[in-house]
């Protein structure tokens, strides 16, 4: 017995796996789907997952007070990143819940007086689906189209505003093509017409500078895991002056000013706060890194493969999101060939379907190009060597697939593909 005890105490820490490196992981280039949790974020969270487990709403003992203090600090860190007041931050389970709360909350609260919402065709599924739900409840929704660049037409937007328009919801950075909308101008128009302005900034916060006051934003959705924080947490900024009122979706203990009942997950909020604080220090450095690697990737593919098209406006785009269409081949077959690279043809939510992306179709992309698009996501932890590897792999497989493609053969023979009449099935 004694020797058994001795043995088990001698070996201090046993790693989860002793034979490391047997399998190899693909190169991760899907930064718009999710990102790894930053080790600095995990470091801030661990005390709250181990010793400091108190319920932040417990007012009668130290466990509760400590957790509450941590949650309040996280609130300040998030508010600091977007120039808001800490009291304007509501914790949610993620950007999907934030978007749902913002859209349904505002629409249902003001339903008696105003019942029109404006959004765009290129929004994330959760915004579009919330709008569909509201339409069933009798709310009018205008889905604005976008220009070829992916940007909305500001004049068309202003014309779409009606006397009974309560809310406009337009995302900051698009999750599929990376296009950055002119948030400041949209904010001005909304303020002028006294329309609440909500923006889904899940892909934007921490990556490009955002100031809710300078940009006249009334509601803003934040996601934790897109900014190197933990999954399962997000936040919604709700302006206090002029006050935006919401009807809560979840009923319960009245936490988060009654807007989101349920115990606030203190470890997750601490992680989100830390992620925001890191982002406010690091965003310029991260942006330069993404820009440099993005340039390298696009130039490398362009010079070695050719016949590619970048989807979305090249100027008003976050460089960490590169959406390319490869002519003469199918995106899905390229994705299958590139199994050593973790990429996708669009958003993760729709990656199971073979349908071309609705975002690319809204841009007016040709059907064949929408079918051959691939999104590359570059983040804080992407390395230059990974980009070298990806360019080499793309060159190899695109050339191989084009060799097999009848379309490529026809193109080589000088046939204009757009003149072909395809048979209908």
């Amino acid at each position: 017995m004694a020797s058994l005890l001795k043995n088990s105490t001698q070996r201090a820490v046993r790693p989860l796996c002793r034979f490391r490196g047997l399998a190899s992981l693909p190169v991760y280039l899907d930064a718009q789907a999710t990102n790894p949790t930053d080790p600095r974020v995990l470091d801030s969270m661990l005390p709250y997952l181990t010793e400091q487990y108190g319920n932040p709403h417990s007012r009668t003992h130290q466990y509760g007070w400590d957790s509450e203090k941590a949650v309040d600090k996280a609130r300040e860190q998030i508010a600091g990143l977007i120039n808001a007041h800490p009291k304007e931050i509501v914790f949610t389970s993620g950007a999907t819940e934030s978007n749902n709360t913002a859209l349904k909350g505002v629409a249902r609260f003001y339903k008696g007086k105003k019942k029109h919402i404006i959004t765009t065709q290129t929004e994330h599924k959760c915004v579009l689906d919330s709008c569909r739900k509201l339409q069933e409840e009798g709310i009018d929704v205008t889905y604005l189209g976008v220009k070829k660049s992916g940007l909305i037409d500001l004049e068309e937007f202003e014309k779409a505003i009606r006397p009974d328009t309560v809310l406009a919801s337009i995302m900051t950075v698009n999750n599929e093509i990376g296009v950055i909308q002119s948030i400041e101008e949209i904010g001005k128009i909304c303020r002028k017409h006294k329309v609440f302005f909500h923006t889904d900034a899940a892909q934007a916060v921490g990556k490009i500078p955002i100031d809710v006051n300078a940009m006249n934003i009334d509601l803003l959705s934040i996601s934790g895991h897109k900014i190197y924080g933990p999954k399962g947490v997000g936040a919604l900024f709700v302006r206090r002056r002029p006050r935006v009122r919401l009807e809560a979706i979840i009923s319960g203990g009245g936490q988060e000013r009654g807007l989101r009942s349920g115990t606030v997950p203190s470890p997750l909020t601490v992680g989100l706060g830390a992620a925001c604080e890191i982002a406010s220090v690091e965003h310029a450095y991260d942006y330069e890194h993404a820009k440099r690697l993005s340039q390298k990737l696009v130039d490398g593919i362009q010079s070695r493969v050719g016949h590619i098209e970048r989807n979305g406006d090249p100027q008003h785009t976050y460089p960490g999101c590169v959406n390319l269409s490869f002519s003469f081949i199918e995106g899905e077959s390229l994705l299958m060939a590139l199994k050593d690279i973790a990429i996708s043809s669009g958003s993760a939510c729709t990656s199971a379907s073979l349908e071309p992306s609705y975002v690319l179709r809204a841009l007016g992309s040709r059907e064949d190009l929408a079918h051959s698009s691939i999104r590359f996501g570059i983040g804080r932890f992407t390395t230059e060597s990974e980009i070298d590897y990806v360019i080499d792999k793309i060159e190899h497989h695109v050339n191989r697939l084009r060799e097999m493609s009848p379309l490529w053969e026809m193109y080589q023979e000088g046939i204009d593909l757009s003149t072909i009449q395809w048979s209908q099935h």
Binding site: R20, G21, A23, L25, P26, P39, Y389
Partner: protein
């Protein structure tokens, strides 16, 4: 000045060394690159108050890297494909 120089160089060496604790390729490379760039960016800082502030922050980051490197080492199980391909795995 030289007083801080020794301290800064020790910190720099320890930070670069701490990157090796991370078994996960992308974290290891990031800790290395971020430490290197931070020291390059601040190498001409001469204000002693500012230097002290930077050293304090650097030491805080070192502690985080050492803690998280140890944890990462226990849970990281696989290599990224390019680590097994020498032509890509060389650091720049």
């Amino acid at each position: 000045m030289s007083l801080y120089r020794t301290e800064a160089l020790t910190l720099y060496r320890n930070l670069l060394r701490s990157s090796r604790l991370f078994k996960t390729y992308n974290f290891r490379e990031y800790v290395y690159r971020r430490s290197r760039d931070a020291f390059r960016e601040n190498k001409n800082v001469s204000d002693s108050e500012k230097i002290q502030e930077l050293l304090k922050e650097g030491n805080r980051q070192l502690q985080i890297a050492q803690r998280q490197g140890a944890i990462n080492g226990m849970f990281s199980m696989n290599k990224v494909i390019i680590e097994n391909t020498p032509q890509y795995s060389a650091r720049r």
